[in-house]
């Protein structure tokens, strides 16, 4: 495990009742959300019990994270894999049929894309990315997006054996979000 940023003592273990419990904000935590791998920076809390060995991690605002990750992936120019299309659909919490209707596609086309029996393809993929971002834009507060980025995008085929590195996110302060003062934002390489 990487060095911890912050340590705080918390009450007691929910499993064994011991007071030997440490609460730590992890500097980085990698997780596969189901099609898209993300690295969460300075925002995942680990609670570890020194007595029984239980360790629990807490991921804040999963809904906001999945929507932000879907938008962030839509802006990465490498061709979408089937599992990534499925991830985007799940981020929208839509069935295949609902997603197909929203994208003006047949459910069979969506199924073929997700199962990779047929690739998405250039113009259809751009339209898919536009639609995903348009549907998610109002629900994602901390993430800036310009539709022109997709319009101007040249979609690239992934080289043989290439694996997209995890998309990095952290929590940022926002004012607009009802009921919360934080939202997800992507960390971009300098």
């Amino acid at each position: 495990m990487m060095a911890t940023k912050e340590d705080m003592t918390v009450t007691n273990c929910a499993d064994c009742g011991s007071h030997d419990v440490r609460k730590t904000v992890l500097p980085a935590y990698d997780i596969d959300l189901g099609g898209i791998e993300v690295r969460l920076v300075d925002c995942v809390t680990q609670v570890a019990c020194g007595a029984c060995g239980e360790d629990t991690i807490e991921i804040p605002d999963l809904d906001g994270l999945s929507k932000t990750a879907a938008m962030a992936r839509a802006l990465v120019p490498f061709r979408l894999a089937g599992k990534e299309v499925r991830f985007m659909r799940l981020a929208l919490d839509m069935t295949g049929r609902e997603f197909a209707a929203a994208m003006e596609l047949t459910p069979e086309t969506v199924s073929r894309w997700e199962n990779e029996t047929r690739g998405v393809g250039g113009s259809a993929e751009k339209l898919l990315r536009h639609n995903i971002c348009a549907l998610l834009r109002s629900k994602v507060m901390g993430f800036n997006y310009d539709p022109a980025d997709i319009a101007k995008m040249r979609i690239l085929n992934s080289p043989e054996g290439f694996k997209l590195p995890p998309l990095e996110f952290t929590r940022v302060a926002v004012n607009q979000k009802p009921g919360s003062d934080k939202a997800w934002d992507q960390l971009l390489a300098a």
């Binding site: 609670v47 239980e54 360790d55 629990t56 991921i59 605002d61 999963l62 999945s66």
Partner: protein, 100 residues
């Protein structure tokens, strides 16, 4: 879907899972079992939004609810969870795909 007489808890859990900003606490056991059964966090969230609570148990220090249902793609998933409605958080003790 069987509800085991816990309709109210099912309704509360579905409402909690559908709230904006809900956090997920995952025990080590839950992370291992979810990886084993190929259950992603989004699949689990999707099931919890549509679930029924079928068993309520008092563990050492918390009340756990066994929630069962299908995700948006129809995958059958069962999970044992603790609902912290005051802090909009769901703790997942374990989760699995029931064998037919």
């Amino acid at each position: 879907m069987p509800d085991g007489g816990h309709e109210d808890k099912g309704k509360r859990l579905r409402a909690l899972a559908s709230k904006t900003g809900v956090s997920y606490r995952l025990t080590k056991h839950a992370r291992e079992e979810m990886a084993k059964d190929n259950i992603s966090l989004l699949m689990l969230r999707s099931m919890l939004k549509r679930c029924a609570v079928i068993i309520v148990e008092q563990s050492n220090f918390e009340e756990t609810w066994r929630a069962t249902g299908h995700d948006v793609d129809g995958n059958s998933i069962t999970a044992v969870v603790v609902a912290y409605e005051d802090v909009i958080t769901i703790k997942v003790i374990t989760a699995w795909k029931p064998r037919r």
